[in-house]
């Protein structure tokens, strides 16, 4: 595949993928990172993304799909530009994660895996994110925000809404 003409991805990502498949003892080892990085850029794993990744690795799209469906961070539908992931696992739960999650639902007017009408936010209750000692904690895309109370929620949303305004609302642009 000639990267300039055929790829769905930005030239930088296409070049990165060219390197990634050569990095491991077998090409296939690049599959999981490639899917995640593609998702970071495109927003989700569309059929076209899956097809191109399959072609780059040299396996079938079905095989890619079989692997992709295993990993909980990989998704097949667009989400908001900022995906709010609230951990409610035990350590965070004990410190009020459910109240925090409820407050996000109220403020955003969406439920589990919902997306706001303007496409800025989506919301997800997630399993342990590895911030147990600083709970309750959330991740917005890859940013960790910890030691939260429900009162922090409006301020967080204002800050990210501001970011969306300056950066545009295209998911993961």
């Amino acid at each position: 595949m000639s990267p300039e003409s055929m790829t769905l991805f930005s030239p930088q990502l296409a070049a990165r993928f060219d390197g990634l498949v050569e990095k491991y003892p077998v090409r296939r080892s690049a599959l999981v990172p490639m899917l995640l990085y593609a998702q970071d850029e495109v927003g989700y794993l569309s059929d076209a993304v899956i097809d191109e990744v399959a072609q780059r690795i040299g396996i079938t799209p079905l095989d890619v799909r079989n692997v992709a469906t295993y990993y909980s961070m990989l998704r097949f539908r667009p989400v908001g530009k900022f995906n709010v992931q609230v951990c409610t696992n035990i350590s965070c739960m004990l410190r009020g994660a459910y109240d925090l999650y409820e407050r996000f639902q109220e403020e955003l007017g969406i439920g589990q895996k919902g997306v706001t009408a303007d496409g800025v936010f989506s919301l997800e209750e997630v399993e342990c994110i590895g911030a147990c000692c600083w709970g309750p904690a959330i991740q917005i895309n890859y940013d960790f925000i910890d030691e939260l109370t429900p009162e922090h929620v409006p301020g967080i949303l204002i800050a990210y809404r501001g970011k969306a305004k300056t950066e545009g609302t295209v998911p993961h642009a």
Binding site: V67, G130, D146
Partner: protein, 436 residues
């Protein structure tokens, strides 16, 4: 940003460079970094393995297998390339120590990986981080690039004949991938389902080559063992449990945080002195000693409990991954059990039926039970289900779901009974914030 904490009882070995800017390679070197790798290059494989054996360092991932012994299982001659695989898929609820290691001291992981490679005769090491740890992966990738630039990685490392490369890898959200054989599957670009053992990874592992898989904390400890000497390291801990451990104190505790304490440190003291006691002056109801997979302990069981693999094992639980979750007396244990099992139900890879179906039925039963629609027989059914999952799956996830469930039902049967006959949960709808 994760807050660093400190307590006078801490023995800072693995955490000694935390908060000192050691993610920068020059600073790491200034603080004594890469001296252990140089020594390991000079001394060679046998010496390294003997040091590790003498240090009584045991695997920090949860099982507590002696590290030196694990390394000695790798055959000297092998047809296929050998590999070192560092498990940074930290996902056990209650555990966030590797998070801090990657953030503050990524070079200790790189140095430990080099030493492990020299010990088993591998030329390639992989450092696998969970997908959520993207910012940490970037820190580790930068550190790896810096180590190449200094000649610590690549051909002729430290000016020797040896070569060693490190490849970093991201996951994409899967607890199960923290199991060593599932980790290898994931790294090979497959679904993270476990492999049948034997053969063990030390003989047939990644890409079919002999592989050692160690937790990130174990690997980060290795340079310190070499630097301070095996005997000095072993002397910090208790018999057969060398050194320190990064305990992640979380939940209803006044001062949560990651504390590095000697192996065998008293659990009660850890909660009340190091952690400042139960939050809001409440009473202790229970404590999960080593991550969500480990059976819960009652206050009377922790009185004289030293936190090492053997003592916690004798007390009927496990030291596990070092995640100490403190639960106060206003917490509903049924809800806590439900949240725990919901996690395992979500994370079961579905490969083994007892785990796939067992976790699902346990979640259904506990959901109904907590909602007030349970019947007396459900309590026995929950126990029966959990007992029948134990030891019947290829990997430990089935056990990890069953063990804590059995603990909750056996130790808090009265609280389960209090949920019967349409009675509402005696505690709040959700676990309340402590009144401060």
């Amino acid at each position: 940003m994760p807050r660093l904490v400190s307590h006078p009882d801490e023995v800072k070995i693995v955490t000694s460079r935390f908060g000192k800017g050691a993610a920068a390679i020059d600073r790491y070197i200034e603080l004594g970094g890469y001296e252990s790798a140089k020594k390991a290059v000079e001394q060679g494989s046998e010496w390294i393995i003997n040091e590790l054996k003498a240090s009584n360092l045991r695997g920090r991932g949860g099982a507590g297998f002696p590290t030196g012994l694990k390394w000695s299982f790798v055959p000297k001659q092998a047809e296929k390339p050998k590999y070192v695989l560092v498990n940074g898929d930290e996902s056990e609820p209650g555990t966030c120590k590797d998070h801090l290691i990657f953030l503050h001291d990524p070079h200790s992981v790189i140095e430990g990986t080099i030493i492990a490679g020299l010990a088993i005769g591998a030329k390639t090491g992989f450092i696998y981080l969970r997908g959520e740890y993207r910012y940490l992966l970037e820190i580790v990738e930068k550190a790896v690039a810096d180590a190449y630039a200094k000649g610590f990685l690549g051909k002729n490392i430290f000016g020797s004949e040896s070569e060693f490369q490190i490849i970093t890898q991201t996951g994409a959200g899967a607890y199960e991938v923290g199991e060593e054989s599932a980790l290898m599957e994931s790294l090979e670009g497959k679904r993270g389902v476990p492999r049948i053992k034997p053969p063990f990874p030390a003989v047939v592992g990644l890409y079919g080559g002999p592989t050692i898989i160690n937790n990130a904390e174990t690997i980060a400890t290795v340079p310190h063992v070499i630097a301070m000497g095996a005997e000095a390291y072993a002397a910090v801990g208790t018999p057969r449990n060398g050194g320190t451990r990064l305990f992640c104190l979380s939940g209803h505790v006044e001062r949560p945080g990651v504390y590095e304490l000697p192996m065998g440190y008293n659990l009660k003291k850890m909660i009340y002195e190091v952690g400042g006691g139960v939050r809001g002056g409440r009473k202790l109801k229970a404590v999960v000693p080593g991550g969500s997979s480990t059976p819960v302990l009652l206050p009377e069981e922790i009185e004289n409990l030293g936190m090492d693999f053997d003592q916690v094992g004798k007390a009927g639980s496990m030291l596990g991954s070092g995640g100490v979750v403190v639960i106060d007396d206003q917490t509903c244990i049924v809800e806590f059990a439900l949240r725990t099992i919901s996690f395992y139900q979500h994370e079961s890879c579905g490969w083994c039926i007892p785990c796939r179906e067992g976790t699902d039925w346990l979640k259904k039963s506990l959901t109904r039970f907590h909602a007030g629609f349970g019947v007396a027989k459900d309590i026995d059914n929950i126990q029966y289900l959990a007992e029948n999952m134990m030891g019947r799956t290829f990997c430990p996830l089935g056990d990890a779901a069953a063990m804590p469930t059995l603990g909750f039902v056996k130790k808090f049967r009265k609280e389960f009974e209090d949920h019967l006959n349409g009675q509402p949960c005696p505690f709040a709808k959700h676990v309340e914030l402590a009144l401060i």
